[in-house]
């Protein structure tokens, strides 16, 4: 379970307040979708959750434990998948899995077992000895996902996991996400595809201008805004909460 309380992030370099006040709660065995327009602070929030960034203020806890208390043990239990993170092109998926598996202090037996399972599921086995740099976008994404999940994390943070993928690969990943949920994992998912949200997510959080403006179930999102679809609910939340837009709307 993840708890985020009044999270704030101001980048010192350019004094940008990327995240102003975000509070969320994500439970185990749940898929939580993080929505928001471009520049809302979703990626920054996720990077703080994954320990890549240190919050300026606020608190993040994993199962009641503050993330700052023991960052290394938190990292053992989480996985973060984003398009910005790449793998070394000179290595094959096999070699990458061995390397990262050992970094996560897995035994050789665990590495072998998990690797086989994930590679088989994502259809990587056939290419497991080929260099990563020779793969197509889809293959790279699948390989990254497999490496990311190799250590069997409790919490998985996905930043637009199906971005740029074909429909077949998208479905494969979606099914896997559901499988992870069934296994009791805590999943946070950021996407612009609202259709994906309605299909997969149990709960949703909306961030506008660095602040969380909604946190609740997907099914209640539309009704809470007095509209019929998630799209309309999202637009309405944005209009009401985005500073410039709010002024225009009022006028």
């Amino acid at each position: 379970m993840i708890t985020i309380e009044h999270l704030k992030k101001t980048f010192k370099k350019n004094k940008v307040e990327a995240v102003k006040d975000v509070s969320l709660e994500v439970n185990d065995g749940e898929i939580f979708a993080l929505l928001g327009p471009n520049g809302a602070g979703k990626t920054t929030t996720m990077r703080m959750l994954s320990t890549l960034l240190v919050p300026t203020a606020g608190r993040i806890t994993y199962d009641g434990k503050d993330i700052n208390e023991d960052m290394l043990s938190v990292r053992r239990r989480i996985a973060f998948l984003t398009n910005e993170i790449r793998l070394d092109g000179q290595f094959s998926p096999d070699e990458l899995a061995d390397y990262y598996g050992r970094l996560y202090e897995m035994t050789e037996e665990q590495i072998r077992k998990n690797k086989q399972e994930l590679f088989d599921y994502f259809g990587i086995t056939e290419f497991s000895k080929r260099r990563y740099e020779t793969f197509s976008t889809g293959m790279k994404q699948k390989t990254s996902l497999a490496i990311c999940l190799l250590h069997d994390p409790d919490t998985i943070i996905f930043d637009e996991p199906t971005n740029g993928l074909d429909i077949l690969t998208q479905r494969l990943i979606e099914q896997y996400i559901l499988k992870l949920k069934a296994a009791g994992k805590c999943i946070i998912l950021s996407t612009h595809i609202l259709d994906l949200v309605s299909r997969l997510a149990d709960r949703v959080g909306v961030i506008v201008d660095g602040k969380s403006v909604y946190c609740g179930s997907v099914s209640e999102l539309a009704s809470s805004q007095g509209v019929s679809t998630i799209d309309e609910a999202f637009v309405k939340l944005y209009e009401e909460n985005h500073e410039e837009q709010a002024i225009i709307t009022k006028k």
Binding site: F11, K12, K13, R47, S50, T51, L52, L53, V54, L72, S73, R75, R76, I78, A79, F80, E84, I85, R86, L87, D88, G89, Q90, F91, E95, Y99, Y100, R102, L103, Y104, E105, I147
Partner: protein, 375 residues
């Protein structure tokens, strides 16, 4: 440390997976060496002196050999022409010296300061004149048993390491700093640019292990690469020496004991570590490899400058010079090759390097937390 070894192995493996990098780090030094040797084969067209002369005017002396300089004999020769005439003649070269005894109370010694040979020989001429007069004075007082000056060269080595001592620091530091600059710029900043840095950041490997793994991989590869260059140079000299060929590599007659070699290696390792740590530290704050390389330029050039300065160091240095980073390693290398290394100087160098290393590691670890690392 568990993670350190894994990261280290992974970084080394990256090099060996890339043919271009293998070529760049291990084959290029060989090619550079061959080109250097090729250039040194260019023969000069002007003739050089066969001997050096101290010409004496106003004194009748037989031509005598008084010593040797740069493998050329030094002769004392009497001349009958007036100095002003003789010096205009083609027989008097810039590297010669003329001593005018026409006034026995005031001896003029003519030389060319700008010519290093002449500048050296003027002192020889001066001493020779003094010795002549001292003998004459002793002759005036036969009743006194004057002491005599007996000179003894305590150098027992057949060959000396002066040339290698002058050049080795520079030859080591230039390729080393260039290699390390490239490699360290790529290992953090380049990886940030490619996006491969963050996956390791997400793992439970302690920051110290991650950073050290990268630093030591950079150090080792660069040390190896520079070692190939120097090792081949020495090997080339040995081969030339063994076959009686002219040595184009410049290391002939140079012999280093095992202990000296190990000491040189130790300092080379420390130097590599320092450069690497500094390179990685700078790289942490840069967004891409190119930016990191530019940021490292002052460091690379400062190290090259230190090595250049050491080339002009002769004799002993003040104690505090052994605390100046990089320069202290250069002069300790020279001391080792002269077999004049002193424990206290070595200790000063070791302590200064260790202190600097620890400080750098601490700064690197603190900087690691900066948001600029993960931006």
């Amino acid at each position: 440390m568990h993670g350190l070894w894994l990261v280290f192995k992974h970084e080394i493996a990256k090099i060996f997976k890339d043919k271009n990098l293998i070529f760049g780090f291990f084959v290029l030094p060989v090619l550079s060496l061959l080109i250097t040797v090729g250039i040194s084969m260019i023969r000069p067209t002007t003739t050089e002196a066969e001997e050096y002369c101290l010409y004496f005017y106003g004194i009748n002396m037989e031509r005598i050999n008084i010593g040797e300089l740069n493998e050329k004999q030094i002769y004392v020769v009497s001349v009958e022409e007036e100095p002003s005439v003789f010096m205009q003649s083609g027989k008097f070269h810039n590297y010669d010296v003329l001593v005018d005894f026409s006034d026995l109370h005031e001896i003029n010694i003519y030389y060319h300061e700008e010519d290093t040979i002449s500048s050296y020989l003027k002192s020889t001429a001066d001493s020779f004149v003094r010795e002549i007069y001292s003998e004459l004075y002793r002759g005036r007082h036969p009743e006194i048993e004057f002491r005599k000056v007996v000179a003894e060269d305590l150098n027992e080595k057949e060959d000396d390491n002066r040339l290698i001592a002058m050049l080795l620091p520079y030859m080591l530091i230039l390729p080393l700093s260039a290699n390390i600059s490239n490699f360290s710029a790529d290992t953090i900043a380049g990886e940030k640019q490619r996006g491969t840095f963050f996956q390791a950041l997400l793992s439970p490997v302690p920051p110290l292990a991650l950073i050290m793994g990268k630093i030591w991989s950079v150090s080792l590869i660069s040390l190896f690469s520079s070692g190939i260059y120097i090792g081949l140079d020495v090997l080339g000299s040995r081969i030339c020496e063994a076959n009686g060929w002219q040595d184009l590599f410049g290391f002939s007659g140079i012999h280093v004991s095992t202990a000296e070699f190990l000491l040189i290696l130790l300092y080379a390792v420390l130097l590599c570590y320092l450069f690497s740590n500094l390179g990685v530290l700078i790289s942490l704050f840069c967004k891409n490899a190119n930016q990191a390389q530019i940021a490292q330029l002052p460091v690379t050039l400062a190290c090259t400058v230190s090595a250049m300065m050491a080339m002009f160091r002769f004799g002993t240095s003040p104690k505090f010079h052994y605390l100046i980073p990089v320069y202290n390693i250069c002069i300790v290398f020279q001391d080792v090759l002269h077999a004049k290394v002193r424990l206290e100087n070595m200790a000063m160098v070791a302590v200064s390097l260790l202190v600097l290393s620890v400080v750098l590691v601490i700064i690197t670890l603190i900087s690691y937390r900066s948001e600029r690392v993960t931006e």
